[in-house]
């Protein structure tokens, strides 16, 4: 019985390894698609959006110290 269990475990391990290899291959395939230079990553956040977000953050950070005075 122990032998059967071991064989089953071995088969499971092998299947998991195959699955792992398939996932790895899928990941690399997707990366290759993005790597080729022609892939469209989509529009980036605009400079105005970054400035707006950082300005809000900076003003908020400064405001934290001022709020105590209220």
């Amino acid at each position: 019985m122990a032998t059967t269990a071991e064989a089953e475990r071995e088969m499971r391990d092998e299947a998991a390894l195959e699955q792992r290899d398939a996932i790895r291959a899928a990941c690399l395939e997707r990366c290759a698609e993005m790597d080729c230079g022609a892939y469209d990553f989509g529009p980036r956040l605009t400079r105005a959006e970054w400035i707006l977000m950082f300005a809000i953050a900076a003003l908020s950070a400064a405001g934290i110290y001022l709020v105590y005075l209220i």
Binding site: A22, A26, R30, D35, F41, S60, G63
Partner: protein
């Protein structure tokens, strides 16, 4: 051909339930979706608990304003990680292989995930407490303390039942619950604002009676730690965003604005409850049934309770995907179930809520430096360029035995700085002159970032960090 079929099948499944990068056509979440999913995760009864702790340290007005300001300031590095994840369609725990190395990422992920389990346990605990009180108000005999624990244990199970179906189900439940939560939030605010105690609440000193700047900054520290607590969950949501803009503004609104608003509601409720003579518990059930009556109060509480289930669902989905970097062939459902069962055990124990301040300190000490390093490494040191293929194989991100020594040193320096200024066990500042300016989590972030940037400025270390630039086999993007 057989191999191609296998890979195609794997891609179909693992984009939603695994680590395979999502192409733009695979993305699910719009800005509104991201807002609801991030908000549904961040908003749970722990916001009310946080609000109660703030009420002890600050006046009502200070707590309201500083909470909003902290959320708006600290959420920015969080969204920057989300933008990076959206750009490549990957979880940030994959890109962190570039920052910490293969083995280094495992270490950091385990530390962060362990702190995340605490949040889930707190979430389940408060679900149990809320539902027990609702049932008691309805006339059921809930006198045994085991009732709350057993009901708490159902929260992760229900959360698992939703996340089991994947990100689409998570989105649907998050939208339903998000709308319910907004309604509940408005309901609670109306109850408190019309309670007749708002004037007294506004004139009240902090509930501990300490009006010092140090007491105020302790509350600020807890808020900073609270916002950085979501580090573990940025990438799994960000990768599903349809664009960088969706990821950025969705996370900004959900993790920043909405969460801030709900902490503020917690603060207001606590002050009003205290003015009425109640002992603040951080549990909205203690107040809502009293003010709203059994039916109206119970309805609101059930909505809050169900929101905790959605939080658990989003949390398990994210944690399960992140943990698949350990072994990508693990079945998503099994990993999610393992997390759910772990939270069931923690909920049945029920002890983690007793160490909330200490727990928050640990979260700040670990998550702050990790967040800072992820941002500095990708946005400054690497100038937004990664070797994507090497994130999935032991290539240039192998560093030294799988660990980026420079990042680990910077991480350790951040934690050391945190412990230097703040005693995480007793939740007391050790060096008030520094703590009162930067807070402990803020200092830890700054120290980690500066140490890493200084190391990266050394030519030999720079070459060590940017080995991917010399790899001609594949481009970086």
């Amino acid at each position: 051909m057989a191999t191609r079929t296998t890979v195609a099948e794997v891609v179909a499944r693992e984009t939603r339930f695994g680590i395979v990068p999502l192409l733009r056509s695979d993305r699910l979440y719009s800005t509104v979706d991201m807002t609801f999913v991030a908000g549904a995760f961040a908003i749970a009864t722990w916001c009310y608990y946080q609000g109660m702790y703030l009420a002890y340290q600050m006046t009502l007005l200070q707590a309201v304003l500083s909470t909003l300001l902290v959320c708006m300031a600290v959420v920015v590095p969080v969204t920057m990680i989300g933008v990076m994840s959206a750009r490549y369609g990957i979880d940030h725990w994959l890109s962190s292989r570039a920052t910490f190395g293969y083995a280094g990422t495992y270490l950091v992920l385990v530390l962060i995930a362990a702190s995340g389990w605490g949040w889930s346990a707190i979430n389940a605990h408060m679900f149990g407490q809320s539902m027990t009180k609702v049932l008691a108000a309805a006339g059921a005999d809930m006198s045994s303390p085991w009732w709350a624990k057993v009901i708490a244990a159902t929260c992760p199970i229900m959360g698992f039942a939703i996340c089991y179906k994947g990100p689409g189900a998570v989105r649907v439940s998050a939208k339903i619950m998000g709308l319910a939560l907004l309604g509940v939030g408005a309901f609670i605010l109306i109850l408190t604002l019309t309670s007749g105690y708002m004037g007294a609440a506004l004139d009240s000193p902090p509930l501990l009676g300490d009006t010092s700047y140090g007491s105020y900054m302790l509350g600020v520290e807890w808020n900073v730690a609270f916002v950085v607590a979501w580090v573990s969950m940025i990438g799994t949501l960000g990768r599903l965003a349809k664009s960088e803009r969706s990821a950025n503004w969705g996370l900004w609104t959900g993790y920043g604005l909405l969460m801030g608003v709900f902490i503020i509601i917690g603060v207001v409720v606590t002050f009003v409850a205290a003015m009425k003579g109640a002992v603040p518990t951080g549990d909205p059930t203690d107040y809502l049934i009293e003010v709203g009556g059994v039916w109206l109060g119970s309805l609101a509480l059930i909505a809050i309770g169900v929101a905790n289930v959605t939080t658990a669902a989003v949390g398990f989905y994210g944690a399960s995907l992140s943990f698949k970097i350990f072994w990508p062939s693990w079945r998503y459902e099994r990993v999610a179930l393992a997390f759910a069962l772990l939270i069931v055990v923690l909920a049945l124990w029920g002890g983690i809520i007793d160490y909330y301040e200490t727990y928050l300190a640990i979260v700040g000490a670990i998550n702050g430096p990790v967040l800072a390093l992820l941002v500095v490494d990708y946005w400054i040191v690497r100038r937004q360029r990664l070797n994507l293929k090497d994130l999935f194989r032991r290539g240039t991100y192998g560093y030294t035995g799988g660990v980026n020594v420079a990042a680990l040193l910077a991480f350790a320096a951040g934690i050391a700085a945190y412990i230097w200024v703040y005693d995480p066990i007793n939740a007391v500042p050790r060096v008030p002159s520094v703590f009162n300016i930067l807070t402990a989590t803020g200092l830890a972030c700054i120290v980690s970032a500066v140490v890493y940037l200084l190391l990266a400025a050394v030519p030999a270390v720079r070459r060590y960090l940017l080995r991917d630039r010399g790899d001609e086999s594949c481009s970086i993007c």
